[in-house]
Symmetry: C2
Subunit: 641 residues, 2 copies
């Protein structure tokens, strides 16, 4: 079915391919991690206070070596290079993840908010200090009562024209700021998200620069409480914040998109409040881009450990002979190799996302359409990448048996620390919902809010036909019509290992699931259903459509990369890895194609056989494949005594 994989491929070629354009920066970050490898080996035994101080110290050290400010403008110590930001962050994920998250809070979230939502006065005042970590800060968005639904935050910033100040207030317990990194100990200021109220009118959520501490002492009106021990990331000082009528100058409003005049006149370059809100939120997409990448990198660490272990650990076998290597068992190959393949796929999906992010954020004239597409790609990649991290790290832990349970072997921290990646920077379910809705209409402005009821209403109100005026929606409709006419029902042809076949299969699922949700929503509304109920019933399918979209764009990015490689053994092996990834995904969900007559039962079984075969073939290069991930030996445990 395929040529055997050549053993002679050069790991360095793959490593260079994975490192991409920021290879030098990645090497510098790895050096920092190696110098601070004690965080990996010892931090579980440190009291929380010691751990937090060490984590802060590494962040300060990173700032000193200039690894932290790539994305900031040159005049504030940065490089005006958003891609470098993402690459540095991702590489940090090979080490202690509390450092990663503290780093992300400081330079990405806090710094990013000042940079993206503020204007020159804020940049001049703060960015250089943020890039150098002289000013540590927090990103105070989430509240106890509102995590996903940010538009409904309870904190208020009421303008007092008499003193030309905003009064920041926490009206109730549900509105306290929650899980805020850098808040419990080190943050001296925060970007605080609050309902902006001017002259009694609520203009929706805006961000303000609010000082929290001076010389380590909490400022009057600010109350901060430690969130207490967490499942992981205990080197990060998460806290809760209450504001009791805290006053900040009018100028502290981060006023890139909206401002309040001294006299109390509200103005904004974006009329529609929903559009304004989502535009502001959209500028913060970097967090999502980074977290997904971090999850993928952490997965590489776990897979490197588990694969090397499986290639050294022996158990059972023929009496009188050496026991059999774990990796020579078919089931063990089945457990690890598809995860390795998927990690490659997600790596290249993430690389594509980071490139888009860099291009669009470097281009002040980037269209709103491109920005929306970026946000959708970021949401899908983040959801797939972080769920993969949770699943793959768990599988790796189990594949190392008891050894996997000892903290020294890293799975303890990898599992615990990445666990929240599926939740923060956007709960994965909510993110996929966002992707799904974007797919349905690509016109988020028309029903900007994230809630499903609005989508159901929207789709119900407009006949499907009127949607057809819109580019993407039209394509959806055409597919619905084709399907109704019985077109496009046949299975794509081609050899199973033909990437065009694999992509066509993923694309078919993507298109059909999306049009099917549109029909369901419309059908439910036409039948007079309650919009909330209609949405609830379709939600599972909407999420499946979004995931199908994510799978397609990730695989496409992988293929683009493989196809650009020069011919040779490295491309051959990457092509096999791509096939394993795609066929594993098709195998997992093969019922979907079977049910729709897009896959014959015989071909479905042959996909299972192809996955078996690819796992066997790639077993011989499993270790080189994880070696190419480039996790420094200094950051890896010695699993065998």
């Amino acid at each position: 079915m395929t040529d055997p994989v050549s053993d002679s491929f050069d790991v360095r070629v793959l490593a260079a391919l994975l490192d991409g354009e920021y290879a030098a920066l990645r090497t510098r970050v790895k050096q920092l991690l190696i110098e601070n490898a004690d965080l990996i080996t010892d931090s579980t035994e440190w009291p929380k206070e010691v751990y937090r101080e060490r984590v802060r110290d590494v962040v300060l050290e990173a700032a000193k070596t200039g690894l932290t400010g790539s994305g900031f403008p040159v005049e504030y110590g940065g490089l005006d290079d958003f891609g470098g930001n993402v690459a540095a962050f991702e590489t940090m994920a090979l080490g202690d993840l509390s450092v990663l998250v503290k780093f992300g809070v400081q330079f990405g979230l806090f710094g990013g908010a000042i940079h993206q939502l503020g204007t020159k006065r804020h940049h001049d005042a703060y960015l250089a200090d943020i890039a150098s970590a002289r000013l540590l800060g927090a990103f105070a968005m989430t509240e106890t009562g509102h995590g996903s639904n940010v538009q409904a935050l309870g904190t208020t910033a009421r303008y007092d024209s008499a003193t030309q100040e905003f009064v920041i207030n926490t009206p109730d317990e549900a509105s306290r700021k929650e899980y805020i990194g850098n808040a419990a100990c080190h943050g001296e200021a925060a970007a605080v998200f609050a309902q902006l109220i001017v002259d009694g009118e609520n203009h929706g959520v805006h961000a303000l620069f609010v000082p929290l501490r001076r010389k380590g002492k909490t400022l009057p009106g600010v109350r901060i409480e430690d969130c207490g021990p967490k499942l992981g990331l205990n080197g990060v000082d998460n806290g809760r914040i209450w504001f009791d009528h805290v006053r900040v100058p009018r100028e502290n409003l981060l006023n890139r998109y909206a401002d309040v005049s001294p006299e109390g006149a509200y103005s904004s370059s974006i009329e529609n409040p929903d559009r304004r809100f989502f535009t502001m939120l959209g500028t913060l997409v970097q967090g999502r881009v980074c977290v997904g990448g971090g999850g993928i990198q952490a997965t590489k660490v776990a897979l490197t450990i588990a694969t090397r272990y499986a290639d050294a650990r022996r158990q059972f076998g023929v009496p009188g002979k050496p026991e059999v290597l774990l990796l020579d068992y078919g089931q063990h190959q089945r457990r690890l190799l598809p995860l390795i393949a998927r990690t490659y796929a997600l790596h290249f999906g993430q690389e594509r996302l980071a490139r888009d992010f860099k291009e669009i954020f470097s281009d002040p004239d980037a269209s709103e359409r491109r920005r929306r597409a970026l946000e959708s790609r970021a949401a899908a990649t983040k959801a797939l990448g972080t769920w993969h991290a949770t699943n793959a790290i768990q599988e790796c832990r189990e594949a190392c048996g008891g050894a996997g349970y000892l903290a020294i072997n890293r799975f303890a921290a990898l599992k615990a620390d990445t666990d929240v990646f599926t939740t923060f920077e956007g709960d994965n379910t909510i993110l996929l919902q966002l992707v799904g809705k974007g797919r349905l209409t690509d016109l988020r402005d028309e029903f900007g809010s994230l809630d499903g009821v609005a989508v159901a209403r929207f789709v119900g109100r407009q006949a499907i036909e009127t949607l057809a005026e819109k580019t993407i929606a039209r394509a959806v409709i055409e597919r619905v019509r084709d399907a109704a006419r019985g077109h496009d029902e046949a299975e794509p042809g081609g050899d199973l290992l033909d990437h065009d076949y694999q992509l066509a299969m993923l694309r078919t699922r993507e298109e059909r699931t999306t049009s099917s949700v549109a029909r369901r929503l419309k059908g439910g509304m036409d039948a007079g259903g309650d919009p909330a109920e209609v949405f609830s019933r379709c939600q599972h399918h909407l999420l499946a459509a979004a995931a199908a979209h994510g799978e397609r764009i990730v695989f496409e990015a992988f293929l683009t990369k493989v196809q650009a490689m020069p011919e040779g053994p490295e491309r051959d092996v990457m092509s096999q890895v791509a096939s394993l990834h795609a066929l594993s995904e098709i195998e997992r969900d093969r019922a979907w194609w079977l049910e729709r007559g897009r896959l014959s039962t015989e071909r479905a079984k042959s996909i299972t056989r192809a996955v078996d075969m690819l796992c066997r073939d790639l077993r011989r290069v499993a270790v080189p494949l994880v070696d190419a991930f480039g996790v420094p030996d200094e950051l890896l445990p010695e699993l065998l005594p």
Copy 2:
């Protein structure tokens, strides 16, 4: 399709059904847990030493109140009631899981080994002290180099007839005892598993009583090292043990199945060394029975928290109205309700297992066949129950968002502590392999060892026809023949909610996967394949067959229970829960039936619709369903401020 669930069912009826015959004992254990609830709320902040001492104290307290010795003979302070042992252990799993594991090590593993492998002299000397926790001990089986393959342990016990002593020795690093609970601090003795060598001849692995400490001081020749921080269960003092020619009296051999005379003559009531080894191991099945039950109970805690949270937490909705409860979202119902249903199923599967265990261990004349069947059921139930715990607790954590990440809300410990349940007391993959092989031949004696090569050889050597002489194997063959003749190919008829239909579906998969593996193995061997290679290629399918068997026996146990209930709203709701469980499992793996023509594409889609509908219907009783799990409020966090 079905009547709506009545809201009026009595939670207490379901709670009583779940508690079963040991309700009073469970209540006593819960009282102990409530009194020690500080372990749940505070232990993450304790230094390891403090945590370990508190855990030991609770174990001592449990011993004082008589909760620990149910399974021991009455003359040593027990109740001669193996069922009580399991019930007490399971209920302990609602609290801190370090206490659970320490409890299990002391009374189940250490005590169980002395009880089951020792004879009257050992019982007289130790059992009363073990039941009362005056003598704390360890179970020293696993070694660094051998976890699953216990037959290949490296530790030796060489008989010295000159002094009538055994000399216990650790020949190399791979043979040090590893992950041994109670070893690092508290164990004063251990049941040590070692290769018994008499006069130069190795008689295989046997167990001996070996003192480790006196008054807290390690004895000469014994070296113990702390395993260091673990992913979870840090209240348990796991350690490594090396023996340097440690001498113990001849009488310390736990000699129920084999003995060595003063002169050095080895004798055993079981001639075949493999059979002897597996018989000895079989007496220790209690550990597996307990761990599976513990995993299921811990899952109940997680589901109770997540379901109550979802019924109180609101997010998004129609402007001007209260936001929507998480549990009113279709996706959230999809996430939680099938897990609740599966937990019910596994609970009753576990109850059936515990009953078999009690009956067989209370009957000295229980046949070897029944004992083997018990071991197979224990292996399958443990694997399914502990994997379910890992999956379900993870889903519950994510379903609680950021709140799920705070240690105070219990998911941190639930995740970390249960994580190793899939590994210890038998790695789940190895256990399913054991089940699969048992299914293939039911004649383990003929190729006793656990390794797959022997199985492949065995199946290859004997023509499939000769297997047909054996009861179970014959049934397999008949099915192969039927399949070849095209019989039995049709999908079972009946309404989707008909339990007979659901069971028939699971049974079809069980039977077909088993016969298919037999054919693959035979085909591979007939073609002259290398046995190791043949086995490796079939392993994935063997494990699928084993899991299919496990699913059937669990569901059957659930149905038996439901069908024995008196008519009424409680039975109606249990019947729906059973349907949700079965149809979710069929939906998950529906490709299997589709590929074999056992399910039409239309019916497959209707199964998905039925799962949707059951989730919606059962949403109204989701909270009562978890309330019936009976987790005391004192052990649950307050998730909403």
